[in-house]
């Protein structure tokens, strides 16, 4: 384990809420508003942490453990995501699967906590979340395995270290397919607009927000922070693909990688400003298209 990997990890933990702020700012700019400050998410987190929590008498320990487990699993998965071509703090063969299924564990506990409230509304959201992630997860996993096949490694750190201009000229089509698939999965997994609207709390079509309606105070702070970590995770997976800067000293690479993550954030903001929410029936089709892109990239490597 090298120190630079740890520094990247700490940077990711510290800057993740800023990415959410960037997206909100880009959306505001597109709408012609001034928008909230860039650090609004930090203020929100601080405010939530100072509040007390209210728990319904019908809930059990599952409800309280949901946000904690989700945040812990996401933070652990983030520890396996390399940045700027340097090895992540946690890197071993097969960490592709561990990372993806840690995200699965986080989702599982969020869903359980939603079901534990006994609210029909939250149960509906949980059902949708599980339905869509059943399509988004294979798209991500097949895509990462295809990337591993391209770079001959089933560990994220060497795989991303192998992405570079040479790989883009050798297997550029596969990498482009993967980038599209990852972007779609990013939007779906983080409840961004074509799939879900992160701003609404009272709409029958929402998916993710509905599951966390009953959490308040510190629990909601954990959930918000976990969501921003997850967004950062996917954004850095995508940025590592499309902006592989491997030149110069380490600080320059790190700066380029951070810039790449924020460029992805701006792209998300632009997509959210330009698109309307999809009809719920169309969502599985788009996710399946992402799975097709990943599978195509994988099949092209089978030869």
């Amino acid at each position: 384990m090298k120190a630079i990997g740890l520094i990247h990890y700490v940077l990711a933990l510290a800057l993740a809420p800023l990415l959410l702020g960037t997206i909100n700012r880009v959306k505001a700019l597109f709408a012609g508003r001034h928008g909230p400050p860039l650090f609004q998410v930090y203020f929100d987190l601080g405010k939530l942490l100072r509040k007390g929590a209210v728990y319904s008498r019908t809930t059990t320990w599952v409800f309280r453990s949901g946000p904690v487990v989700a945040l812990a699993a996401t933070a652990l998965a983030l520890g396996m995501i390399p940045m700027a071509g340097q090895a992540a703090p946690l890197a071993f063969t097969g960490d592709v699967f561990v990372a993806v299924y840690l995200l699965g564990l986080a989702r599982f506990f969020t869903v359980l906590a939603a079901l534990d409230t006994g609210s029909a509304f939250e149960g509906m959201g949980a059902s949708r979340e599980v339905q869509f992630s059943a399509l988004a997860e294979p798209a991500l996993l097949v895509g990462l395995v295809a990337l591993g096949r391209l770079t001959h490694s089933l560990s994220l750190s060497p795989a991303y270290a192998g992405v570079g201009p040479e790989l883009w000229s050798a297997g550029g089509v596969s990498l482009a397919l993967l980038a599209v698939a990852f972007f779609v999965v990013l939007l779906a997994e983080n409840a961004r607009i074509p799939f879900d609207d992160p701003n609404t709390h009272l709409e029958l079509t929402m998916i993710h927000e509905v599951m966390v309606l009953d959490h308040g105070g510190p629990d909601f702070a954990l959930i918000t922070y976990g969501a921003s970590l997850k967004l950062w995770l996917f954004a850095s997976l995508l940025a590592g693909l499309i902006i592989p800067v491997r030149q110069g000293p380490e600080w320059l690479d790190t700066a380029a990688a951070l810039g790449g993550v924020f460029v992805v954030g701006c792209a998300v903001g632009m997509v959210e400003s330009c698109m309307a929410r999809l009809r719920l029936l169309r969502v599985p089709q788009i996710l399946f298209a992402a799975l097709v892109f990943s599978a195509l990239a994988f099949l092209l490597q089978m030869r």
Partner: protein, 228 residues
């Protein structure tokens, strides 16, 4: 990754997009794009020097497949209310799934074909086989006659690519003959679609079965009995 591979993967992607989309306008535009993709292939495959014959074939192919046919199709569709495929026999997601499976099969099959040893372009044969399959699926699983004609075109594109792989320098007359057949075929189908639409106000081919003399026998009998 050479230009040919890129073109072939674009061909596969347009096939998949056609399998997964429901708008008739999108089908026509994708078919036009495919015409350009397969049209430029002889330029990419052939030796460095481009003869007059090749240029002629390329020009005619693109002119027919991506200008004439789309124009014809959109002209036919102008009078229809139907803008999208409704209730296909096989759903869009299922078609896409079939497509992915078929792509795997095509890659596997073409690896075992004898062209593989000589082939310098590894994706041409799989893309050709896959296009043929995608065209077949479009013909079999969709209801609108327009989509079925476009499926026929997709299939023909696949056959064209396979022809380039198998017979690298086929004579000019063969190419032009095939193209002429295609033009005649599509014109006939266009006229037929027009007539179907004028007679019955729709282009759902599955309802054409009601034209024929044989009908499910019990239906009229029951209605007779029901009448007092």
């Amino acid at each position: 990754m050479s230009w040919i591979d890129t073109v072939m993967i674009l061909l596969v992607l347009t096939d998949l997009a056609m399998l997964g989309s429901s708008r008739l306008g999108v089908y026509v535009r994708l078919a036009a794009l495919q015409g350009v993709l397969v049209g430029v292939l002889p330029l990419l495959v052939g030796p460095g020097r481009i003869g007059l014959e090749t240029a002629f074939v390329v020009f005619t192919t693109i002119a027919v497949k991506s200008v004439l046919f789309p124009w014809l199709m959109s002209r036919i569709m102008r009078g229809f209310e139907a803008r999208r495929e409704k209730e296909p026999y096989v759903g869009y997601t299922a078609s896409l799934f079939l497509g992915v499976v078929a792509l795997g099969v095509a890659l596997w099959v073409s690896r075992h074909l004898p062209t593989e040893e000589t082939g310098v372009h590894p994706y041409m044969m799989p893309a050709a086989l896959f296009s043929i399959f995608a065209g077949l699926v479009l013909i079999v699983s969709r209801r609108k006659a327009v989509t079925q004609v476009l499926g026929y075109l997709v299939m023909e594109n696949g056959i064209y690519v396979a022809g380039i792989v198998l017979v690298p320098d086929s004579p000019l007359f063969v190419e032009l003959g095939v193209l002429l057949d295609l033009v005649v075929g599509v014109f006939l189908m266009g006229i037929m679609i027009f007539h179907i639409h004028r007679e019955f106000d729709h282009i759902d081919t599955d309802q054409l079965a009601t034209l024929s003399d044989w009908k499910p026998a019990p239906a009229p009998a029951v209605s007779e009995e029901a009448r007092p």
